[in-house]
Symmetry: C2
Subunit: 231 residues, 2 copies
DNA sequence: CGCGAGCTTGACGTTGTTCAACTAGAGTGG
DNA sequence: CCACTCTAGTTGAACAACGTCAAGCTCGCG
């Protein structure tokens, strides 16, 4: 799975997370030496909940999901992760175990960086530490929004939230090829796959969205926002 | 509300968060100079979601709750906070706005520390930064557990989780005086106050707990753990 | 052309909310 | 010290939301 020849350079990487801007050229060379490029096919597990977190992952290309695996064997999707997002930060300075799993929703190219490098930079470089904390906190606030969506809204509102999130933050277009299965959508909205289908059917017949195979087009985004607004 | 005379000293404070152990005596003197002691009565708001976060709070005495205020005016309790817990860390290095509110569940004594001090120490002291990240990440993992409880378990399991959390982590005893109202329990478990009553009635008649006024006694903790185990 | 996974649809059952009426207990003023 | 009030808690009945189950469908792929 690993690519021996790295195709990307940290120093010139356009997608890197803000924390890396705090590093010197010398730091970048060290980073480069402690980095791997990995390719994952759609569906493959990128990191496994409970496994020893020896690396922090960075999504260079593709889309992934992070999810919790519960005792009853179900999955709870926490987030859809687009390019530039990091995986595994919550393992930093804890017991170094991934608290969630992640899997590729599309074919992905991932940078895998030694977690010790992260911890060293955090301790030695205040700007780097600040950016890490900022990233963690942004993620926490997003989680709060998701939590409100799940706990306060009915099915229509929850699914509207997912479509808005996909259009606004993930695909950054009203027109996209959907990488999430009915089951993924169900695990993200905490409803049954059958209910996901039913709500999507309703959205289609109300002309809010248009679906052609895997291609989704959001036709009435304002209407979706209204539905999202606590309903 | 503010006490002019401070009754506590940072250096000798037994309850302080682990990050402060990373500070020198000189640092502690600066901390002392940028710190206030506040008293809050039961029910009073300690910090308000959306307000400018000029301070990080620290619960020296008492119990508080952190909660989200939703657009429909409802409250979603994130956590019950016991002595030694900090409030407002998610505002660090973000837009410095509290992403949640907090209120006292019992009369509280709170240390309020200038947020700039926190940001400065984080940048200048690697050990301090590491402890802050560790604290944030521990909290994130707890949130994941809570999220699984809410999304995967039925009412019995969710309420069992709350009782276990109170006994294990908050009151640290099987016998405690309950500071949470039916409504608090409802906002924490995402059920209606009526349903909270119904489940508690069931727990009482099954002799899992004994309730005398505000005093709760957990009689069969193993049984509660079984109920918590995804049911 | 046939197979299978993922998707769709309808009928039905369960869970939990809502509403309304009632009760208990704490605080207040005469 | 007692009536009065107000809030929090309790209880039951009706109802809505959503999940489950079973059957059938579609489409990509060998």
């Amino acid at each position: 799975m690993a690519i021996n020849q790295k195709s990307i350079s940290c120093l010139t990487c356009k997608k890197k997370s803000s924390c890396f801007n705090e590093l010197s050229k010398a730091d970048h060379r060290i980073l480069e030496a402690n980095r791997l490029e990995l390719k994952f096919k759609r569906g493959e597990v990128i990191c496994k909940q409970g496994a020893f977190a020896s690396n922090i992952m960075f999504i260079y290309k593709g889309i992934a999901k992070s999810y919790l695996e519960t005792d009853n064997g179900k999955h709870v999707i926490l987030n859809v992760l687009s390019e530039g997002r990091m995986i595994g930060l919550p393992a930093l300075f804890s017991n170094n175990v991934f608290p969630y799993s992640a899997a590729a929703l599309e074919d992905c190219i991932v940078c895998s960086i030694d977690i010790n490098i992260f911890e060293e930079y955090t301790k030695s470089n205040g700007g780097f530490a600040a950016e890490i904390i900022k990233t963690l906190n942004t993620c926490a606030v997003n989680n709060y929004d998701h939590y409100i969506s799940i706990t306060q809204k009915k099915m229509n509102g929850r699914l509207a939230d997912v479509f808005l999130h996909l259009a606004d933050n993930i695909y950054k277009s009203h027109h996209f090829s959907m990488s999430l299965s009915r089951n993924d959508l169900a695990e993200m909205t905490q409803m049954s796959p059958e209910s996901v289908t039913r709500v999507i059917t309703r959205f289609k017949s109300d002309k809010l969205i248009k679906v052609t195979g895997k291609t989704y087009e959001i036709k009435k985004i304002d209407e979706l926002r209204k539905i999202s607004y606590l309903r």
